[in-house]
Amino acid sequence: MTLDVLRLPILGAFLRWHYSRFVLQVPLFVLALLAIYDGFTGRQLAPTNTATVAVWVHYRGLVALALAVFGNLFCAACPLMLTRGSTKFLKRFLPEFSFPKSLRNKYLVIGATVLFLFTYEYFDLWASPWITAWLMIAYFVAALVVDAVFPVGTFCKYVCPLGNFNFALSKVSPTQITAKDQNVCNSCEGKYCLNGRLETNSTRAPIQGNRAEHVLLQLEPINAKTIGTFPGCETNLFVPSIQSNEDCTLCLNCLRACPYDNVALEVRNPLREAIIDKPKSDWTWFVVLLTWAGLLNAFAMIPPYFGLAAWLSALLGTRDEALLLGIIFTVALGLGFSLTVLAAKASRGLLRDWVGVLYPLMLAIWGGHYLFHFITGASTLLPNIINLLMRLELPLEPPALVSTVRLDAIFPFQVVVSYLAFLSSLYIAYQKASGQKRLTRAVLAVILPQVLLVLLINTITILIFSQPMQARGSLLL
C-alpha cells in the first residue's frame, strides 16, 4: 500500500490541475525579472540587491529544503521552461538537430558544474548583482537556444547544471513518479507518458516516437476533459520503468499524457533508491563530484581556506588566484575521487555499486551549507524587493531593518542534518553489503571501507560547519 500524493485532497487536486506548473512558474518568473532588473540597475552590494539575495540565498536554500522534504519542486516550477512558447516559435525557422550521441550523458554537465564552481569562487559571483543578472539572462538564452535547435528537454537532461544538481539530490527525496499498475502499462498501445498523446473526440495517437508502430485508435465519443494535446516526458522517461528520480523534473506531463490515469507520485522510503541504485558511470562520477565539491564549496567560506591559499601562495611564490584556486580544486577533488574509488575497491565492488552511500551525505553537505545562508539571510529578500518596487514608483513604506540571526544558533541544526545523513549512509552501506542477511564478519569486512569513508566525510563536514564563517572576496589578503 503506497501513499499517492496525487490522491491527497488539496495538494493532489492542485498538482493534477492542468495549470499547476504554470501557477508555480509565474511567481518565480516575475521574481527572476525583478532580480535581473535590480541586478542591472540597483545598488551593487550583494545583500541589498534582489538578484544576489534571491539567487544565492533563497533559491539555493529552498531547493535543498524542497528536495529533502518533498522532491524536485524547483525543476517543476522552473521559470526557464516558460520559454517553451518562444522555443516552438523558433523551431518554425530553425532546423532541428539531434543532440550528438557522444554528449547524451552527464559528462557535459560534470564539466559545466566544475566550471561553474570555479568561476563562482574566482569571480565571486555571489558578491556581484550585475554578474548574477547576466548569469540569469545567459540561463534563459541557453535554455531557449538549446531547446530550439535540439529536441525539447535536451537542455534539462544534458546541459543544465542546476537541474542535474536537483536530479542528483532528489535521489534521497521522499517522493517518486511510478506506475500504479504495471499491467495497465504493459497493455498500453502508445506509451503516451513517454511519447505524448494527441486525442480528438474519436481518435487517440502518440505525438512522437515511431508512430507507424501505433494504430490510430478509433474511440467512442469520450469525456471532453481528455481531449487535447498532451506532451510526453521531455527527458525521455517511461513511467513503468522508473526506479529513480534521475532526470525527473516533476513536470507531471506523464500524468496528463496517460489516458488511463495510471501515474502516481508515491511517497517512498527516501533511502530506497540509494540502496538499490547502481547508476551508469556518468551519473556515478557526477554524484562523487557533487559530494566532494560540496565540501570544497563550504570549505571556501571558512578561515582555514584562506590560510591554505596564503600558505600555497608563499610556497609557490605566486599571487595568481586562478592558479592557486586551480591547484586547490584539483587536489581537493582529486583526493576525494581517489578515496571514494579506493573505498569501493576495498569493498570488493565497482564505484557504481557503492555510490548510493554518498547520496544522503551529498544532500546534507549542500543542505547544511545552504541552510546557513538561508537562515541568516531569509529575511533580507522582502526588504530588497520592497526597495526595488519603491524605485519603480510603487507607493510602499520603507521596510524595517531585519533582525540579526545568531550565527552560532545554526550549528546545532547542521549537526543534526549531518548525523542523520551519516546514519543513513551507514544503513545504506549495511543494506548494500548484506541485503537481508545478518551482520557477519564477511559483511563487516566489505562494509568497513564504506564506514571509514562515510566517517571521514561526516567528520570533515562537521569540522567545516563548526568553524566561524568568513565571507571574503579575495583569496589572498
Binding site: 542591472f40 545598488r43 545583500p47 539571510g377
Partner: protein
Amino acid sequence: MKFFLKALFLLCLLLACTPAKQNELTVKLEITNPKVGKVPIVLLLEYQSKPLTKAIVTVRGDMTHAGMSPVQAEARELEAGRYALDNFGFTMSGDWVLSITAKKGTQTLTGEAKLGINP
C-alpha cells in the same frame, strides 16, 4: 524579427543603466582592531570637502556576501566631521561595507566605506 529587434533594443537600454552615485559623502574610518564582535569606530565625514556637522548619522553594515543579516547603529558626533560608533557589532569575519546616511535639515547625504574584519 521586429519583436526581437525591439527586445534587443530594450535589453541594450537596460544594460546601459548604471546605479546612481551614492558617494556624496566622503567617508574615512578610524578603527584600531577590526575583528568580530563589538568594535568602536570613528567615522570621518566630509561633504563638499568640509567636515560634516550637526547631522543625524546612521550606519548600516553589510557583508559583501548575500545572505548575511545587516547591522545598524546610530553614530554620535564627537566634533566637526567626527562621529563615533561605540559598539558596532560585526557578526562575521570577511569583507564589510558600511553604508552611511546623514540627515542634516532636509538634506539626506549618503556614503559608504569598505573594511575587512578579522576572525
